[in-house]
């Protein structure tokens, strides 16, 4: 029983990660109709925002410690961070400890800016081009972004820990009168996702912004003839999508140490989630994200793996195939979006 509850929690948690990544993608891909292979790269850049903030906070000067030796036998240079020397070890230590949450504050403007630049500089010319061309250009961009990050940060994962106060486990089972321990940061991630998803939903639902962008997608020219500057709205949409991707990345770093190709790892999966959810549907993408997350969590249970070996490796694809064959436009897709 506990095992099942735990897997449901895992599923929700995985699902919230998938949903958040897919949400950003569906804004660009499902709504603006751009097959954005660089979305994974945006996610990755978000994660590296956290790495960078951590590095900046850890910027340090060297003090030679004669009592210790380094690997070549020379006196050891001990590093002392500026932050700690400015704010004192107590306060400074706390600031460094909270690097990931602090990174969120920096990541939002940075990601929005990256989104704007990407859209204005490149993607803008590709709305009317074929999907094939969009794939080529965004894939090229993804490679470039990835290689740039690799050039500066290397290929190995870089550990980025959550704040001390938010690591460790909490007893979620207390709610049900049992004991189920679950990592605190994952719970934080889940609620963070829910807040972001809710925020984006209400923005697109309670304002006309979403409708206008959808209309612009269907027929840019006519929307322009109605006096609407659709270009600007597309840019904003792109900025939002980039920010969502980036935030997903920042928050993900304590769960898994980021590396330069983490975006590519998630890319295919996020396309699958978006399409299974149905093109052009935000709720669809979120629903599909949670659904696939939960199914994946269950498929990796020993009880299931023992009579369906390897099912956890293909469960997502199997489910995707079944859904797409039974529901022509995924879970909640809109008619006519990218069907030709």
């Amino acid at each position: 029983m506990d095992a099942i509850l735990l897997q449901i929690l895992n599923g929700l948690d995985k699902g919230s990660a998938y949903a958040l990544i897919a949400l950003g993608l569906t804004l660009i891909f499902g709504t603006l109709g751009v097959v954005n292979f660089a979305h994974g790269a945006l996610f990755m850049i978000g994660a590296f925002c956290a790495v960078t903030v951590q590095r900046i906070l850890n910027l340090s000067y060297e003090v030679v410690d004669e009592t210790q030796k380094d690997f070549l036998g020379n006196p050891l240079k001990v590093k002392a961070t500026y932050v700690e020397s400015w704010f004192g070890p107590e306060m400074g230590g706390a600031i460094i400890d909270w690097a990931v949450p602090i990174a969120i504050i920096f990541a939002i403007p940075i990601m929005i800016l990256i989104g704007f630049v990407m859209e204005r500089g490149l993607i803008k010319h590709f709305y009317k081009r074929e999907h094939a061309d969009q794939i080529l250009v965004t894939f090229g961009l993804a490679i470039v972004l990835q290689e740039v990050i690799k050039y500066f940060y290397g290929a190995n994962p870089i550990q980025t820990a959550s704040p001390e106060a938010l690591s460790g486990v909490a007893n979620v089972g207390a709610l049900f009168g049992t004991e189920i321990f679950y990592p605190v940061w994952r719970i934080v991630y889940f609620f963070f996702s829910v807040v972001i998803i809710g925020g984006i939903f209400s923005f697109l639902q309670f304002t006309t912004f979403g409708m206008v962008v959808r209309a612009g997608m269907a027929d840019r020219e006519t929307v322009g003839l109605l006096g609407i500057n659709i270009d600007r709205r597309f840019t904003i949409m792109f900025g939002i999508a980039a920010a969502v991707a980036g935030l997903a990345g920042v928050m993900y770093t304590p769960i898994n140490s980021p590396n330069y190709h983490m975006g590519m790892d998630f890319l295919v999966l996020s396309f699958v989630v978006v399409v299974v959810g149905g093109m052009g549907s935000l709720p669809g993408a979120v629903l599909a994200g949670f659904m696939l997350g939960i199914l994946e969590a269950f498929a990796s249970m020993n009880e299931i793996k023992s009579f369906l070996p390897g099912i956890d490796q293909i469960i997502i694809y199997v489910v995707a195939i079944i859904i797409l064959l039974t529901r022509p436009r995924g879970l909640m897709g809109r008619k006519g979006v990218m069907e030709e």
């Binding site: 090229g140 694809y317 797409l324």
Partner: protein, 400 residues
């Protein structure tokens, strides 16, 4: 000639000459010069050029004509490779049965996947094919290891049965692939002054197959069937109300292109009898998509160009390292040399991906029709300089 019109015949001849003379064309630099690094005329890479050319030509029959973007074509290539290697393990080292089986099995596999996937169109179709291919890849990598030998890839061993051949040669090694006794790896080297040119049996087999595949694809493009496929891409609704059943058309295109992929996979295994699961991964499927678009989707020659372009980078650029750079630039003063090497360094060797990414972007931005358009622009420019008053360019002919 060959039932083709003049333009197509000319193109076929050009391709024939290029592939048959590739050992010369691809080795323009003397072996000992600093530029020898850029020579691509060695058997393995030449084989890769044509094999991936075949793969891309086949992909283009589906994508270029019908607009259905399959993201799982590598699965057929993988299936072809596995079938061929199994043939080498069980039957004999002759490449003919291996290639035939590769084509047949991948055709059947394509029939199955196509039949299901083609129930949807657009992005939904793409994701279905992707899902099937990723499933195949994941299973091949793990659960199906008895058939695929997992991560290592299916290899020949000394104790394979090979009922029509020998398990091991007299001196205790694994026999090599051959065409009725002509070993695929046999290479004749011709040394002309400082140049060395390699003529490899396997390459010429691949080249001939490429020419046949290319010829067939021209016929398909110019046939009523090809026209129907373009019509499907243009307006399915009209097709249906014109009394045509689009499903068999797209399915036939899917199967044909799957068989091309299987052919490529079979050839690949014939040149180098190993079949790795990564051949089926989505990145491999993505690669053929990129090749086709980069070269020019829907054109005849484009996919071959795209395939060559990407493979060249993968194999040549990735092998340039700092030492090589220092060799090239050592005519410069030391400081400048270091500086130049420092600037170029991120783009070569392990940075070859970066260069490739930048080139992808440059090509799509500046040559919307892919490399073929680049060629056309050059041709037009040359022609335009020859006769300035040729104004017939206004009508847009379907590119080749």
């Amino acid at each position: 000639m060959f039932g083709l019109d003049k333009k197509d015949t000319r193109m076929l001849l050009v391709v024939a000459i290029l592939t048959l003379c590739a050992p010369f064309i691809l080795n323009p630099f003397p072996t000992d010069s600093a530029m020898a690094q850029f020579n691509a005329g060695y058997p393995d890479l030449m084989q890769r050029f044509v094999i991936f050319g075949i793969f891309a030509i086949g992909f283009n029959i589906l994508f270029g004509l019908t607009g259905y973007l399959s993201f799982g074509h590598a699965a057929f290539l993988g299936v072809g490779s596995y079938s061929a290697v199994w043939m080498f393990k069980l039957l004999s080292m002759n490449v003919v049965p291996a290639i035939l089986l590769a084509v047949v099995i991948s055709g059947l596999f394509a029939l199955l996947i196509g039949f299901v996937s083609l129930r949807r169109s657009g992005i939904y179709f793409s994701i279905l094919t992707l899902a099937f291919a990723q499933m195949s890849f994941n299973l091949a990598y793990s659960v199906l290891t008895p058939i695929t030998n997992g991560e290592t890839g299916l290899q020949l061993t000394l104790d394979d049965p090979r009922v029509l051949g020998v398990s091991a040669t007299a001196d205790g090694s694994i026999p090599v692939t051959s065409l009725f006794g002509l070993e695929m790896r046999s290479t004749f080297e011709m040394v002309v002054g400082p140049w060395a040119f390699q003529f490899n049996a396997g390459y010429y087999l691949c080249a001939l197959v490429l020419l046949a595949a290319f010829y067939l694809s021209i016929r398909i493009f110019r046939s009523p069937f090809g026209m129907m496929l373009r019509a499907v891409k243009s307006n399915q609704q009209r097709m249906n109300y014109t009394g045509l059943n689009t499903k068999p058309y797209t399915l036939a295109a899917f199967v044909i292109s799957g068989m091309y992929a299987g052919l490529a996979g079979g050839l690949m295994a014939s040149m180098d009898p190993l079949a790795g699961a990564e051949r089926m991964q989505w990145t491999a499927s993505g690669e053929v998509v990129l090749m086709t678009i980069l070269g020019g989707a829907g054109t005849l020659i484009g996919p071959v160009l795209g395939a060559g372009f990407i493979k060249y980078f993968e194999n040549i650029f990735s092998k340039i390292n700092d030492t090589v750079l220092h060799n090239w630039f050592n005519f410069m003063p030391d400081g400048l040399e270091d500086f130049v090497v420092f600037i170029v360094h991120p783009f070569i060797g392990k940075g070859w991906h970066l260069t490739l990414g930048i080139l992808f972007m440059l090509v799509v931005v500046f040559l919307p029709g892919g490399l073929v358009e680049g060629g056309q622009r050059i041709a037009k420019w040359v022609k335009g300089r020859k006769d300035k008053d040729d104004s017939s360019s206004a009508t847009k002919t379907p590119a080749e």
